[in-house]
Symmetry: C2
Subunit: 247 residues, 2 copies
């Protein structure tokens, strides 16, 4: 990590450094429409991958691999998988929303500079699976943490990332020669962008709205009301979600 | 988000802002041993939860809820679940590593300022499950992205987070009255810390070492060699992993 270049005050983050982290989180987007043909330098990609590699992992398992896909013919094949999967998914969508669904741009596989398949090797710690006896899916979750690290670092580098989730995982495994015991967790489109949209695409196009955060907070149990001071603090923050601050 | 306080240059991050993001990623720790009794202010917790709420989610589903657990008697009960689960997991660990496993501190449930259970409502978008027809686990992955946002924001606030994965999810659901269709994804210990350890605990205690990143990079397919310039760029970065830069 480029820590050697940083002058932080001991372990702390000053306000600007802290706000930089919040800024990356708040302005990160699932990019589909705004990729440009500009390349992503290997030096930048190396930093992004190192950020991913510094994710937490259950039992320090580090179960991830990163398949860099650049070949345009292969990407076309992946895109064909997406197109087929979209047709398969369509009947599961409410009838009155299908026209909108069809209009949504949901991938940038061929327009982005490169693709990245992030996988999880389910057997990497098979001799001593610390933390997975009860919850074997923890290695998949660790891999998702790596994806989110990559995504936020990319935002800070001005690189856009889009996660293609409409795809048949079995077909993708075959196309990328992924072995049986390895699970493809995320197929990412990665590239320079013309902009980071001010809001999520699905909000802009009317698919959904950001939920009011306070409604998602429970106290002590799932049905527990309470945490009034915390909810007041949330209201004081305001947001960019369309809901108005209440305090 | 506290964007209004930030003077960024348009959409870009200057070097210091970019490096702040990398610094949060590189120095984030799974905290178990270093919690202090200091409280976490509601204003801070509100920002952390808002960061979590800004995670990407499949189909803009936002499937998460956040149960704030403060009651010490309930936390003792959760800790009892951990202790029982650890005993159950022990036989799955290689015999020669069991003594080390027993010595590892793997949770800070009662020493941290508060606990947070992050859950995933599997039915939140049941009418229009965009992006989940082929991969229904995508909502769980979205919830993990929220956890990682929370974790990185916490690092920037000087707040430690530890993820307790050694626990029986069914028993935890019962204890927190979590309904059938909701999955507890992460049980987090959250609090002020005396330090962020320079390395992951499991590395310090000899459980594992960070893998060389270059070994995890594949080109085009899972068995594909290549990406030599990218691997050279990774070598130039150096790291804090014990492996030496090769260039």
């Amino acid at each position: 990590m480029p820590e050697r270049m940083i002058a932080f005050h001991g372990e702390g983050f000053d306000h600007l450094a802290r706000d930089a982290v919040y800024h990356a989180i708040a302005t990160r987007r699932d990019v589909r429409s705004h990729f440009t043909p500009a390349p992503v330098d290997d030096d930048v990609l190396a930093r992004l991958l190192q950020a991913a590699h510094h994710a937490p992992s259950v039992g320090y398992m580090q179960p991830w691999n990163f398949i860099v896909v650049r070949d345009m013919q292969r990407r076309q094949q992946v895109r064909n998988l997406f197109l087929a999967a979209r047709e398969q998914e369509l009947p599961a969508i409410e009838e009155e929303r299908r026209a909108l669904y069809r209009k949504l741009k949901l991938e940038g596989i061929c327009e982005s500079a490169l693709n990245l398949c992030v996988t999880c090797d389910r057997q990497r710690s098979r001799n001593s699976p610390l933390g997975r006896w009860h919850n074997p899916e923890m290695d998949l979750y660790s891999t998702v943490c790596a994806v989110q690290n990559f995504w936020l670092a990319a935002r800070a580098e001005g690189v856009g990332v889009g996660w293609v989730s409409i795809i048949d995982a079995g077909a993708l495994k075959q196309l990328l020669s992924i072995p049986e015991h390895v699970t493809p967790v995320a197929y990412l489109c990665v590239g320079r962008v013309s902009q980071f949209a001010p809001k999520p695409d699905l909000e802009t196009h009317g698919w959904g709205r950001r939920l009011p955060l306070s409604d998602l907070i429970m106290s002590e149990t799932f049905s527990g009301a309470g945490e009034t001071p915390l909810k007041s603090a949330i209201a004081r923050l305001g947001d960019e979600t369309g809901t108005q601050p209440k305090a």
